[in-house]
């Protein structure tokens, strides 16, 4: 029994997205496809302990789910005589029965790219795209997504239902975008995956700094995206997909060192670098090399290169801040944003001294946009502290605290503030 449950869980984790993608391809209805797959899972729990685990569990699930979908469509079609459903039914039956050995097809057609582009369609709200991607391709349950994003279950369930309705009603195609829209649409997919990773990396609110499941899910989905693009002749290898994958892995490599035993945030310079995942760093760096070899530089690759430079430094003082500052400068040209300007100023400060960095921060023409951003005030406070300007540093820490929502980050800021107040005479550790 346990092994059936385990096998089923494995098939679910590995193949859910793929089975669902092919089902949606056949029935063009997210809700119907999900229900049919759910029924197939229940059927597996009933029949596998009796008749044994099939040789190809995923194929079995796909075939049963397809049959269940047919049953439902047929019932609906008879009830309503709906032309569209009758057509879908004819199509799905043609697909199912024209395949020899359709009882347990070896190869489920891989339509996950279509599914990914559909879930990340710009006609859907961003939060809906994120939820839908996790639910359909990630196979996450609605309650898992709701708790990961700290949103009540009914709200998340409604968000998913609305998104699925919109796909159907608005006629969002289940297709890869035409070539002239590919770059733009890929950017949209990257944004969703990056957002999932970031949500896992630093919680925007609450007491959990990292939700590693989300990070790992984002990495898994990005790898799938990069692979599928590479295998698709109409799309081909995408440097930025690999760049995004490298960026995630190179950050994820530091996960064990980012929070200490008591759950407190540890800054990069204070992290125990022996806790960094060297395998992940090697893999991430190789992925970045593959991306760079394609010679289509983009912002994700530059960010990954910055992360790689940090990961390669054995001690904080070995960090190549000069190179990092250059890369941030380049990034600021590619994708101008106040946050990148801020990071640029910090890197310059590390390379050429806190006063130089502070001067850059003052100059930031975009500073008003940063006023409400706690990282800006925390970074400024840190530079002021390093420059020995304690009173100003304290004011900046207090401003950062008043804006920060994450409990762990707040505790860190309070600690820094207490250090400043308690040991004004002793030099703070670098």
């Amino acid at each position: 029994m346990t092994s059936v449950a385990t096998q089923l869980e494995t098939a679910y984790r590995q193949d859910y997205g793929r089975i669902l993608a092919s089902l949606i391809g056949a029935v063009r209805d997210f809700g119907l496809a999900e229900d049919a797959l759910q029924e197939a899972m229940v059927a597996a729990l009933e029949s596998w302990p009796v008749s044994g685990i099939p040789a190809n569990p995923a194929g079995w699930l796909a075939a049963v789910a397809r049959r269940r979908a047919i049953d439902r469509l047929r019932r609906n079609a008879i009830l309503t005589r709906k032309q569209s459903e009758l057509q879908a039914l004819a199509e799905i039956e043609r697909q199912t029965f024209s395949v020899p050995g359709a009882e347990e097809p070896d190869e489920i057609p891989d339509e996950r790219l279509k599914l990914l582009f559909t879930c990340c369609h710009p006609a859907l709200a961003l939060d809906a795209r994120v939820a839908l991607t996790l639910r359909t391709l990630g196979g996450l349950r609605t309650e898992e997504i709701a708790s990961a994003f700290l949103i009540p279950l009914p709200t998340m369930a409604q968000r998913l239902v609305r998104a699925q309705r919109k796909i159907l009603d608005a006629g969002i195609p289940y297709a890869e975008p035409p070539v002239n829209q590919l770059a733009e649409r890929l950017d949209g997919v990257f944004a969703v995956l990056y957002l999932i990773f970031n949500e896992g990396y630093t919680a925007t609110a609450g007491d959990t700094l990292m939700r590693r499941d989300l990070c790992e899910e984002a990495i898994r989905l990005t790898r799938i995206l990069a692979d599928l693009c590479e295998r698709d002749p109409a799309i081909g290898p995408q440097a930025e997909a690999l760049g995004l994958l490298a960026l995630m892995r190179l950050h994820h490599a530091r996960r064990h060192a980012r929070v200490d035993a008591t759950g407190e945030l540890v800054l990069l310079e204070a992290q125990d670098r022996s806790l960094w995942d060297s395998g992940e760093i090697v893999d991430g760096t190789q992925t970045l090399d593959r991306a760079l070899a394609l010679r289509q530089v983009g912002p994700y690759q530059v960010q990954a290169a910055i992360a790689a430079l940090h990961d390669q430094a054995r001690r904080p003082e070995d960090t190549d801040w000069g190179e990092i500052a250059l890369l941030y400068g380049r990034l600021a040209c590619m994708a101008p944003s106040p946050i990148i300007e801020l990071n640029h100023a910090v890197a310059v400060a590390m390379a050429r001294g806190p006063e130089v960095g502070l001067a850059l921060l003052e100059q930031l023409s975009v500073a008003p946009a940063l006023e409400r951003y706690h990282h800006y005030h925390a970074a400024r406070a840190d530079l002021l502290r390093r420059a020995g300007r304690t009173t100003e540093a304290r004011a900046s820490y207090e401003q950062a605290l008043s804006l920060c929502q994450n409990d762990i980050e707040r505790r860190f800021l309070r600690r820094r503030l207490a250090e400043l107040t308690g040991h004004e005479k002793t030099p703070t550790r670098m």
Partner: protein, 114 residues
């Protein structure tokens, strides 16, 4: 699928257009119509909202008020009815409507009763 492409723009700005600008805009719409003949099923331009009348029936009484239902920065100025395979095609057509450059186009699927 059938879609309504609803054209929203700033009327006040449009009324300030010179004759030359008007002619250029008309030429733009004519070109749009010619390029998308295969998809366009119909469409009209509307007179400005200053000519609009809003009607409500409440407790058996017809209430008539001057002007559009809601005062907005951009007003509905016209529409096209198009037939497309999917939303992506409708978006591609909507993006070619001249008003897309300064106003916006709302793409609404037509509800089909069958």
């Amino acid at each position: 699928m059938r879609y309504a492409l609803l054209i929203y723009g700033n009327e006040a700005e449009a009324q300030k257009m010179s004759e030359q600008e008007m002619a250029a805009e008309m030429a733009g719409y004519n070109a749009f119509g010619a390029n998308n003949q295969a998809s366009i099923r119909g469409g009209e331009a509307l007179n400005p909202t200053s000519s609009a009348t809003t009607v409500r029936l409440r407790e058996g009484k017809t209430l008539t008020t001057d002007g559009p239902f809601a005062e907005t920065k951009e007003q509905l100025g016209g529409f096209y009815l198009v037939t497309c395979d999917n939303l992506d095609q409708a978006i591609a057509i909507a993006a070619q409507i001249p008003a897309a450059t300064n106003g916006c186009i709302e793409v609404r699927p037509i509800m089909e009763f069958n």
